[in-house]
Symmetry: C2
Subunit: 460 residues, 2 copies
């Protein structure tokens, strides 16, 4: 556990374009990038050594200006598919009819809120809508701080929770230019390659939470709670041991804190279950967070996010604080979100995520084993996944544990040359992040595996 700006953080973006167009870039793309860098502020960064220019999309495919077909194995926002017709129709109809704020009575908002909260275990029975995951994180943390009277929040080592000032404070992955104040404690999490596994990993994480809470007390900072992405995406897609987050949450609650599940990435079926936190409980002993934050895939790209929680936590906040989000829960965003639920349900995309994601993981593991056996080297230390959220961890083959960010980046760019889109993440930027739209199908998985096999061969 540490705090106050220390720690191994970096400022560079994994998989960022370096500004050198290279000889193969079409003139149209090159010119657009030049104009883009003039008019958009410095924070704007493109992905890949050779940036991707897109003009359209369908299902898990993106299309370039000359009709190039990219396989999207990265984007979790267009969960029900790029250009999804049902979402587009719902948005079109609602935008032509009415789009206003929530201080008038409208039916769509209420119907959607009922439908959404019905997907959560009690007492997660109410929703507050916002526009982005960042806004929802910011709100959830405000609610936790107000409920506890404390300020101290625990986050994971390489967490990312958003872009508002309050959310950036909770995001050590943003690098050394982003100060982590003393009211935020950063803890280590299970490392599937270098750490102990199983019960020992869960014990270590629970101990780290206790230590962080003691650290707040020692510094005179009240304890508010903990926020964790249920699949620890920016930490490198850390899924095991199942149950370790429930253990951590017990420690948080015993100390009077609020446990917030950041489901912005794992939510809405991605892990093969409706919510990523479910993985850390069981039927006999379900894991129920105190607050849940939703975002990214919720409206298939139309901005909408939410905090779901118990009235017990919302009532106090609502009584003391006036919170009104102009665009939050607007009818168009809600229409998009309703269409997303329709698509997930009618096309059974939760099961599909489990099935196709499972096949993809098995295929990757098989290729990794082949590469290790067949004269290639054991560069892949671990391939892990839950549904359509996969992490493939690259290491130096000699040590077997030393992170190899260069190999991960080479695979990212090698796949991009084959028009297959992924990126990398993790503390050491050595974990391939594979997180396709939920409509990614068997043929898509096959194309991915062919490309991945070829890139592994090139890597040697």
């Amino acid at each position: 556990m540490e705090h106050g700006g220390a720690g191994e953080r970096r400022s560079v973006m994994v998989n960022g374009y370096d500004g050198d167009p290279g000889p193969g870039m079409p003139e149209e793309t090159r010119s657009l990038i030049e104009r883009r860098s003039r008019v958009l502020g410095a924070p704007y960064r493109l992905f890949y050594r050779d940036p991707v220019h897109v003009i359209g999309g369908s299902r898990a495919h993106l299309f370039g200006p000359s009709g190039e077909d990219y396989l999207d194995a990265y984007n979790n926002v267009p969960a029900v598919g790029h250009g999804n017709p049902r979402v587009a129709d719902a948005v079109a109809r609602q935008a032509a009819a009415l789009n206003t704020h929530t201080r008038y009575v409208t039916s769509g908002l209420v119907e959607y809120a009922e439908r959404l909260t019905a997907k959560f275990p009690a007492p997660l029975e109410q929703a507050i809508f916002a526009c982005s995951g960042s806004e929802a994180v910011d709100l959830a943390v405000r609610i936790a701080r107000r409920a506890t009277g404390g300020d101290g929040i625990i986050v994971t080592r390489n967490a990312y929770h958003g872009t508002t000032a309050a959310a950036a404070e909770l995001s050590p992955s943003l690098g050394p230019g982003n100060a982590i104040p003393s009211r935020v404690a950063v803890i280590d999490v299970p490392d599937p390659v270098r750490g102990p596994g199983g019960a020992a990993a869960a014990d270590a994480c629970a101990a780290a939470v206790r230590e962080a809470i003691a650290g707040f007390a020692a510094r005179g900072i009240g304890f508010a709670g903990m926020i964790v992405d249920s699949v620890l995406s920016s930490d490198g897609v850390l899924l095991d041991p199942a149950g370790f987050l429930a253990r951590a949450a017990e420690v948080v609650r015993a100390a009077g804190g609020v446990y917030i599940a950041d489901e912005v990435q794992p939510g809405f079926g991605r892990t093969g279950a409706w919510w990523g936190f479910a993985r850390h409980g069981s039927i006999e002993s379900p894991f129920v967070p105190d607050l849940v934050v939703l975002g990214k895939p919720m409206g298939n790209g139309i901005p909408i996010s939410a905090v779901v929680g118990p009235s017990a936590l919302f009532d106090g906040f609502g009584a003391e604080v006036r919170y009104f989000n102009t665009f939050g829960g607007n009818p168009v965003s809600v229409a998009a979100a309703s269409a997303v639920l329709d698509e997930i349900e009618d096309r059974d995309l939760v099961s599909s995520a489990a099935r196709v994601g499972g096949a993809l993981l098995a295929g990757i593991r098989s290729l990794a084993a082949d590469a290790a056996r067949g004269g290639g080297s054991a560069r892949i230390a671990d391939a892990r996944g839950a549904g359509m959220f996969l992490g493939v961890e690259f290491v130096d083959p000699d040590s077997g544990v030393e992170p190899d960010a260069a190999a991960a980046l080479a695979v990212v760019n090698g796949l991009r040359e084959r028009r297959i889109l992924v990126s990398a993440s993790g503390m050491h930027e050595n974990v391939l992040k594979i997180r396709p739209p939920l409509v990614f199908d068997d043929a898509d998985a096959e194309r991915f595996l062919d490309g991945f096999a070829a890139v592994l061969r090139e890597l040697g």
Copy 2:
């Protein structure tokens, strides 16, 4: 100037529904409100003694379930009209084609950013997109703090700048439950009814800014800058004396601070000029803020917002901080925003706002004078406006200065009974806030004035 939670602030919402449905409420609406209060968190509040149930809208009109036609004289978000067909078409087309983030090369984002920044004076030449005004305020303040190394921000007495933790800190209008920390200083602003006018008011405001800056120094807090809504909407629509904000900004800059114009409400033509800050400069001596924050009407309700500023301020931030907003600048929101610019330009809505807004103000002033002369009392101390942003201030007729929030609220509810929608604002909640969609036309103004005359007669 004061800080740290002191001050005359209140927690109740102006014009909030008290939860009592009253005998006339249709069963459908009553039932929807009941379901709504079960499933939406406590922060959700409805407008009016008798809440308004809407199912559709067109131009400056909203429609109830039985076809009731409400005249919308309040909503600045649907600036180019409820259900605007051009916006709906643009959104429909883009949603069916592609909606992704800004780390791929797309043309719409660049074209819109060029078009938007061209509407600002140099050096406001770059844009960073976000989802809500709150996110944009949060970002602008982060940029100002990073650029100056200071933390101290000056805001106006009853300012409202948004809902994120950092924006709420800047919003004393949120009431006593919303703590204002010592790094935020609150200053008085010109009071058109009780204060001095003209140069004396501008002098007093400049002096208050100097005092606030000295206060930061005395408390050991570095100075970062000042953020002001260019029409001071929540302060009660304070427009005069023109130039007082430019004077305040001079003081801010002389002390090394960043002046942020919050154009979330006045921007995009509302004041009869493209930007509200223009009012505080002249052709010979234009007033150019350091950063500008945009939101509400930008996408006619589709969530989009922006910070516009000079590369000099964005470069430093972009180099040190990784900022990426998943939905910020997404193609669908950008398509909506482009259609809004098309509509404002092609229908000349900036001029229309000046003309129709001017006529509305003249009509209100005439009715107020009639009421005062014709045996009615001088309840209206001031009626002011810039384009389609009007404030009508109610006072106790005997004192001529004592704020009369009850009268303002009676007018709000009296108009609502006539299906004309406005609300109230200001430090004392006694200022009628009239802020219709920019497409509000002469017939709409006539209907408004008829209703307003009737309500004034009732008020006596």
